[in-house]
Symmetry: C2
Subunit: 709 residues, 2 copies
């Protein structure tokens, strides 16, 4: 992991080749080794094609070569369509012949278990030794519409040539990538690339995103992925896309336990903690979708190049019912639908007395009698309502050529007057009429709910591009992280430095010490075993809460020591912590999980049994600044419990945000050794905060702690 | 409301007419009064058409009549396509001529404000006086595919005749109903009816559901609705559909505040409390959807007539990626995807070594080389895996005529061997090839996520038909509900009879009484003002909690009395309740809201500030039996807090379910006068339950209580 990578430029011969060899080339156009030749010839690939097959002199009309070394020309990419058993040999041959890259269709590698994994490692070694980039193996190939280069055996190409456009599509899964491509093509989406990465022995989804981020014709990046081998590389690639202001839409599957298991058996890649992906995506303004239909809808809408930063939506409709439906969808999606100004409403009402002029603006089917009314209405919406986005719903209007022409006449002037607003026609009809509308730079979506959701997605992306750019610089805190195991007392000393206090407490080693400490605290106390060998101290009877009186404290001390020694006989016991019981404030949980792929992730949520049952936890990549930490706190569903709902006392949110930011920076500074930090519970008070219990585990402590879990 | 209704049979002339008059008939085929004649002539309506227009003798080739009375034949339905200003006069004329029913396209009624409402009331009076059923006004009409009767001015009919099928489509909104119809037609759905009800002066969505429940050719009922005028009628209609084992799918909009406001301005119908609709739908096994696409997907799948009661799903796929995606979708939708039996896995693995044989069963694109393998795989899935449903994912296979023929050959034998299982092909392609698959009784859905969701919907419906039929009989409890206002003490006496206890408590009227009562309780107490004139007693300083000691109790008593008198000077004060403080158990909320449309609804959820913030409340129509009450308790997200998660003590769920059932029966018995019951908090203990606070409001108390809110 994190191995140094060849620069993005090294992908150029693979992704924009001028010379291509097909090893295992076939005369049969329906075979894996025949299809790419057929497609490239049919669609007139702009480079040179060299079939390789020792048994033929001509293949599909082209001169064939026995071996790759016979061509006598620099080969940018060799498409490998040979059985697994000779794949390694062929790859070596390519490397020896100075071939710059390989696209390996061949299957029978890591997806086939241990034996296949060995073979894949040998392929990787060849790639690394020769600096030869390899796409696949076990991939469906890829295409580049600009050079009409079709290195794929997907039959989807048979039903119609991909449209040239500005969407780059990347998919780990071949069949599903091709599924999304067909879905998009049928909807009239134009692509620069479709790339399927298969087993990712070398080139992975992150590499492709990085390339597309720098590829001039690509403006939108749409991705399907199941897992990721190198988090840093993915973050870097997403960072490049963000810097280039290219929106990225990702369908990351394996979200659920069931899905993650299926992903594991499919590409043998661990899906990872799903919330961490969410946090990574949020960090780089990636929009995550859950269905192929959404992936296509959002990429389509983005391809028109307008993504407003505001979320004020107006709905104009011939159907009041569709208006209600879209208002529901807008509320669900967090879009704002303010009413039209009163004056404008009155003016519009005069134009069509039946109309509902608020928002949804229901101009009723009446407008079919007078299309110029539509122009007046939509102009008023943009001009006087100040909306960022408008959906105009016209049901099945596009089935009529006449009405299509009329609606263009009605909408085009407004489209031209307000070029920066997002303006969608929601209507059904044949492709040719949809295309006419799209040529006016007006996207067409069929389903009103999907249209609202796509607008919400695009607005969120637009907002992300604006707000993320003003993120304040982050100061990394270098407070030390002691090596080895860290006990509760030591952990709390670190937290003190990060602005998180502790209750009054004393570490004692004797019964007398316990009684004396409790007497000094002069309130009910908690007694807790302190040992880095005992992680789950409640489970083994190592905790007593709310104890008071010398006798009870003494008994509790003895009980805890006995339980601990019985449960973990070899444990090194640092003592028993006598702490003041704290009931004030709100119980929360704050933690850091150092994700193996993506590094330290901050988790924050409300504590207590009910909160745990609900699982209301926010995740963010470390490090955070205070403002982002505050956003995170406000993101949890139960936020009002912290902000003083129903007459309760609001807690010290500033101190909380500051502590989260500091802790995240601390974790980030120690990301190479840190494993976990958990402050549970963290009591947030009217003024300040108290860590009531705390665990820090660094990687060194790994073995010892896991033995007891 | 709840007015006695004409029987369903009275809709027969409207919905299956043999003789139809068009009043306001037009020679112009594109006008409202011209379109129905054009459609019916074009599609060869099986009955007789009588155009009415005093200015013409022939209209669209048919003999025209000056007035309805001139026809001299019994007219089943008159389609009214005249301006609003003469609509009443025309309706009277129809009634006088003995016309059995009217479909009123005319707009300008309730949707136009007060003046329009008056006019609509006059129309209603005519309907009631003459027993003449009226559909509309302000509706887009309706059609009956079996008799090719097209009484609509929807242009959607222009792009292709509706297919005859078994789906009855009902929509309050005209344009949106027609939108759903087009969406369905493009997907190849067959309909018996599309009916749009508009302003519902007489015939409403409930009437149409009731008719379709008895209509032989209709097997599935799909509904779009915004609101409902008569809850009892809707419940009765849904009950009829349930009894007839006809699944009902409803898109009820106005779910959100924003949507409800839009609905109000659209059809002037109050959307109602959305959760109550959920409870009503759950009661009658109605499946609720949120988008038009889902409405069409689920209705489509149901139209094939197979809805398994089990939720065991197998996914067979050529794309591992699609498999992962569907596993995610299945987990989201609550479907179960158990693995294939080990033995079968091994056998399948021998057939295709590359395959993943678990579930998803990934037979990879390899199967394209040998289609009979698919038969073997799918047969094994049904035969040895015992799944209720199977999705076979083949991406864009249906674009190829050859592959379409091959897949039919592969799947048809298994389809025939297991006719009772739900078996879906998920694939893209042109309509003609989809149709070929459908003719084998295999539904085709394009999007894998939608396919999984549709299966989940159909399985839930299937389960509902089985489990609802075994519902145990409900015993209605007739404990009295005192008339007038009911104070906390009286309310708790009622609860005692329903098995819900109270803490130790005494009602006192003097400071000395308060002190003496607190002394008897001998623990910290709560003091609460008791007055039916003061509902929100905390807000006015009428409550003190955790008070102990004679002096403090005395002060608290005085403070509460003073505050109460100051806040509501005219209040009749029954005293101050001195109650033992109870900390044990889990805080919950139990209530009854007597919904103006649907009657008493039971609400149950966890209490406390955090629970309130999350809004984790279950709703069910009263009355409930104990088993249903227990289901309700288990339905809340925080259920594990009650069931003893993380070592907490489980509470008395039996007593809770029993109390909910008894309370629901009590509420149902008093539904004519009851307004609200709220027990908040209700402490559920290890054994039994305690109402810590309680409000009962009957309708008589309405005025007094609202004055103080």
């Amino acid at each position: 992991m994190n191995k140094p990578r060849a620069p993005v430029a090294s992908l150029e011969p693979l992704l924009n080749p001028r010379t291509v060899a097909i090893i295992g080339a076939s005369q049969d156009e329906s075979r894996i080794g025949g299809m790419p030749i057929r497609y490239m010839q049919h669609y007139a690939y702009s480079g040179e094609i060299f079939p390789i097959n020792p048994k033929h002199r001509k293949i599909q009309g082209l001169n064939a070569y026995a071996r790759i070394g016979d061509i006598g020309k620099q080969i940018d990419v060799a498409i490998m369509a040979v059985p697994a058993k000779i794949a390694i040999e062929i790859a070596e041959e390519c490397a020896a012949a100075g071939v710059k890259s390989i696209c390996a269709f061949t299957s029978g590698f890591a997806e086939m278990g241990e034996h296949g994994k060995d073979k894949q490692n040998r392929l990787r070694a060849i790639s690394e030794n020769y600096g030869m980039r390899i796409l696949g193996p076990n991939c469906l190939g890829y295409f580049n519409t600009n050079s009409r280069y079709y290195a794929t055996f997907s039959t989807s190409i048979l039903h119609g040539e991909p449209q040239i456009g500005n969407i780059g599509l990347v998919s780990q899964s071949g069949a599903f990538g091709s599924h999304c491509f067909v879905l998009g093509r049928e909807r009239g989406l134009g692509f620069t690339y479709m790339i399927t990465t298969g087993n990712e022995v070398d080139v992975d989804v992150a590499d492709c995103i990085a390339y597309l981020a720098q590829h001039h014709e690509t403006k939108v990046i749409a991705v399907y992925m199941e897992g990721c081998q190198d988090g840093e590389r993915l973050k870097a690639a997403l960072g490049m896309a963000f810097e280039a202001s290219k929106p990225v839409v990702i369908q990351k599957v394996g979200r659920t336990d069931l899905g993650a298991k299926a992903a594991l058996s499919h590409t043998a890649s661990l899906a990872g903690v799903d919330e961490v992906y969410d946090a990574v995506f949020a960090e780089f303004n990636v929009h995550r979708v859950n269905t192929a239909a959404e992936l296509i809808d959002v990429a389509y809408l983005l391809s028109f190049g307008t993504w407003p930063a505001g979320n004020k939506l107006a709905v104009a409709t011939i159907s009041g019912g569709a208006g209600v439906l879209m208002a529901d969808a807008a509320a669900d999606a967090g879009l704002n639908m303010p009413k039209m100004p009163k004056v404008t409403q009155e003016r519009l009402k005069k134009i069509i007395p039946f109309a509902g002029p608020q928002n949804p603006v229901d101009f009723t089917a009446q407008v079919y009698n007078e299309f110029p009314t539509i122009t007046k209405y939509v102009r008023a919406i943009f001009e006087e309502g100040g909306y960022d986005s408008v959906i105009a719903f016209f049901s099945s209007l596009l089935y009529s050529d006449l009405l299509t022409a009329k609606i263009i006449e009605a909408l085009l002037p407004v489209r031209r007057e307000f070029p920066d607003r997002l303006f969608i026609l929601c209507a059904m009809g044949p492709a040719k009429n949809r295309r006419k509308i799209e040529e006016c730079n007006i996207p067409v979506l069929e389903d009103p709910t999907s249209a609202v959701n796509a607008i919400a997605a695009v607005s969120a992306i637009g907002k992300g591009f604006v707000s993320k750019k003003t993120k304040s610089a982050i100061k990394v805190i270098a407070t030390t992280l002691p090596k080895g195991r860290i006990n509760e007392v030591a952990a709390k000393l670190i937290f003190e430095q990060l602005g998180i206090g502790s209750p009054k407490e004393v570490l004692v080693n004797t019964k007398a010490g316990a009684i004396s400490a409790a007497r000094d605290i002069d309130k009910p106390v908690a007694l807790k075993i302190v040992s880095t060998d005992i992680l789950h101290k409640s489970d083994i009877g190592g905790v007593e809460l709310g104890v008071s009186g010398a006798e009870m404290v003494g008994d509790a001390f003895e009980k805890i020591m006995d339980n601990s020694k019985a449960a973990v006989p070899k444990a090194t016991i640092d003592g028993v912590l006598i702490s003041e019981m704290v009931d004030e404030g709100v119980e929360t949980i704050l933690g850091i999980q150092n994700d193996p792929l993506f590094g330290p992730v901050v988790m924050f949520g409300l504590g207590g049994l009910f909160a745990e049952a609900i699982g209301d936890i926010a995740f963010k990549l470390a490090p955070l600044d205070e403002a982002t930490a505050m956003e995170m706190v406000k993101k949890i569903r139960g936020f009002q419990v912290l902000s003083g709902a129903r007459g309760t006392t609001p807690v010290d949110l500033q101190a909380l945000a500051k502590a989260i930011a500091k802790l995240s920076n601390y974790a980030y500074a120690h990301k190479d050794v840190l494993q976990t930090i958990e402050i549970n519970p963290l009591r947030v008070l009217k003024k300040g905060l108290l860590a009531l219990d705390a665990v820090i585990i660094s990687r060194h402590a790994n073995k010892a702690s896991s033995s007891q879990q």
